[in-house]
Symmetry: C2
Subunit: 169 residues, 2 copies
């Protein structure tokens, strides 16, 4: 939908943030980045997204300074910038809200502070260390709500084991 | 844009959350709810949104259990449910990210823990009390980045003073 110029007059930082990340595919692309996905073809396979839409969204995220291109092995990696990494608290808060909306005890993904092995709370805090670990300090493991695999690509299968966030595939 | 059925196969709580709130107008409507807006005409005035779009978004939020209708003075209030109130951490994280994207010292809105008067940090914590106050425990006041008023409706003017979040207009 067109938001138009009226939208830009919205007097709030939220409106600015949503100009960049306020679109569902964009947030799912960023989720994949935090999980360690960096390749165009891997985003495509994980998200079942059209090449045209993915190209457009990646370009918009690069223009906004959230992702950057990095050469690796003759191909291009799409990597979170510092501004992109700072989106982790927003993404984590939405993930937790999505989890609690179904059944709080059946979380789909558990995020663990890697230095102490503690499950972070719904506000992103490590209850043991009283810090808010960044994405680079977290492991992700499947939770009891994840259910049987619906996807069998290598990345989806790897994400059924414990992994450090941001580790490239 | 159409997200289609493939999108629903996304194996993550984020995808579920975005099914409900992953649209820019929706998030701005929720921001207004946290600021205390409850009336259809007030949402319309604050957001410059068409009647049709606003009607559709409010209905979707009610169907999702995020808002509920409450009669007040012969009219209808749209009020956050408990599930809606739990969106505050996500919304706050996005607001703070939007702020830090421009100039961290020029924040547009400051959120204050009302029991101790302390500015909450970017993770939503009160540094003085070491708690994460809910929206009902917060005041909002204009920050140094807010700039000159661009809107002169009564609600926008009232939001240039300090107010408790969730206080109805």
């Amino acid at each position: 939908m067109a938001l138009g110029t009226d939208y830009e007059a919205q007097d709030c930082s939220l409106a600015r943030a949503l100009e960049i990340v306020g679109e569902r595919w964009t947030m799912l692309i960023l989720r994949e980045c935090f999980f360690g996905v960096r390749r165009f073809t891997d985003f495509q396979q994980r998200l079942d997204i059209s090449k045209a839409v993915l190209t457009q969204r990646l370009s918009a995220l690069i223009a906004a300074g959230v992702l950057e291109r990095q050469p690796r092995g003759g191909r291009t990696d799409y990597v979170l910038t510092e501004a992109g990494l700072e989106l982790w608290p927003s993404l984590h808060a939405l993930i937790r809200w999505g989890d609690s909306r179904s059944d709080p005890v059946r979380r789909r993904r558990i995020f663990i502070h890697n230095s102490c092995g503690t499950d972070i709370d719904e506000f992103g805090r490590c209850p043991r260390c009283s810090t808010v670990p960044g994405a680079a300090e977290l492991l992700v493991r499947p939770g009891p709500g994840l259910g049987a695999p619906t996807r069998t690509d290598p990345i989806s299968m790897a994400l059924r084991d414990e992994r450090a966030l941001l580790t490239p595939f």
